[in-house]
Symmetry: C2
Subunit: 258 residues, 2 copies
């Protein structure tokens, strides 16, 4: 199973902390050695790093650890290939443009029969179930709305429906963003934690050290991390329920549907 990681905060911050934990798992302490990727939103732009290499050996991962990139939204993924060969184009997160915004998608699970679904203007570049599901979701959004709905809840409600439909095909844990908020859908395993100042140190699950939580340097008052599994031992993570759909904006839950 792949590992998902998301961050949503109300001020640009550095995700090195949690990312270090995830990176460590991708080869050194876990089976997730078939590629990893991370996308940072910076304004309307995205900075994306993908590597089909085991993440604990990756030069690009080393860069990201040493060179903190500040962002309000981040989606990361470590992959264990169970659909599609190990190569760059099969490495999550996937990015497409709609309505002049970058949409970013990462998935953990398998979807039986997804490739029979009709697609619209988005075509997968790689061969994974996940990118196919992403293209299908983008097609559904594109064909159901003329543009960003004035009331964003209309989009959230439809997304929840489409996620439920995908979830019927297998396992569909997902992080997805439209560059304004982060959509999280739990099929089997996804949890989240909101940190607020004062930020203390926390112990990583995978790395045998305590580190300062970098958010303390910034103006962040709500810093939310969403991950497949709790990344720290000494904090209270909230497990998402099966088929629960959450929307995080600036570190806070703005929509919730079970």
């Amino acid at each position: 199973m792949c590992e998902l990681l998301g961050m949503s905060t109300d001020a640009p911050t550095d995700i090195c902390f949690s990312f270090a934990g995830l990176m460590q798992r991708g080869g050194a302490t876990g089976p997730h050695a078939d590629g990893w990727g991370i996308v940072f939103y910076e304004g309307k732009g995205v900075r994306s790093f993908h590597d089909p290499e085991p993440s604990s050996n990756s030069q690009v991962a080393k860069l990201i650890r040493e060179y903190p990139i500040r962002a309000k939204m981040v989606i990361g993924h470590i992959r264990q290939a169970n659909s599609g060969r190990v190569c760059l184009e099969n490495t999550h997160p996937f990015v497409r443009e709609l309505w002049g915004h970058n949409w970013v998608f990462a998935h953990n699970g398998q979807l039986e029969g997804i490739k029979k679904y009709p697609l619209g203007k988005y075509t997968p570049i790689g061969t994974t179930d996940s990118e196919y599901a992403f293209c299908w979701l983008m097609h559904k959004i594109d064909s159901s709305f003329d543009g960003p709905p004035k009331n964003p809840k209309k989009l959230y409600v439809k997304l929840k429906e489409w996620c439920d439909e995908l979830n019927q095909m297998g396992v569909f844990n997902m992080l997805f963003s439209n560059s304004f908020c982060t959509f999280a859908y739990c099929s089997t395993k996804l949890c989240w934690l909101t940190r607020r100042p004062p930020f203390s140190t926390a112990t990583l699950n995978d790395v045998d050290v305590s580190v300062d939580f970098k958010l303390k340097d910034t103006q962040v008052t709500n810093g939310t991390i969403i991950a497949t599994e709790a990344l720290t031992d000494d904090e209270e993570w909230t497990q998402m329920k099966v088929e629960e759909f959450l929307v995080f904006k600036e570190g806070e839950i703005v929509f919730k549907q079970e």
Copy 2:
């Protein structure tokens, strides 16, 4: 004026050499300090790095110099902002998907009135003339063909027409790729050089050292570099003509129209 850099070879190789020259210009020896970006094709996937920072100070540029990425096609760009503010989403090259392939675009110049042109399914994320022109080109391709034409020359001929049309609006030096070949259009300034084995050392224009040409380590028999200006003093670069359109595939010119 911005600087363009492209590479097209018949085997994956390391572009550190020419890229080092371009990076050096972006702040240290030239006025191009408003962002840079580079996209490497790796199979069907792309690895893209963008930085709105002056490139000679950039941590990401440092990474790319120290960590050679092997590719058969590369498009790079250093920007001097003359349309659109300095930010990540305005930083070339721009990437979009069509027909399940990554299309990558970088432009040097200005285009007066381009934003009145109608667009289709591609919407600019940033505010530059260049990205708008790219979205317009993608729209023209998408709406003129049902899919990749069996005879790719049909696409090349149309592209040349559309480039001529854009060139009427100002200055349109361009590098563009559909993940199979590199399209180069010269409005005012673009030149190219093909290197073949045995590869010798060459002197950089901007950096006061000679370095080994990395292509020598690989199976490359045709290594073509396309750049705004000659990057080396001791080799014969071919200047492109005004309104000349070239298509490079695996380091060779496969189509040419003036």
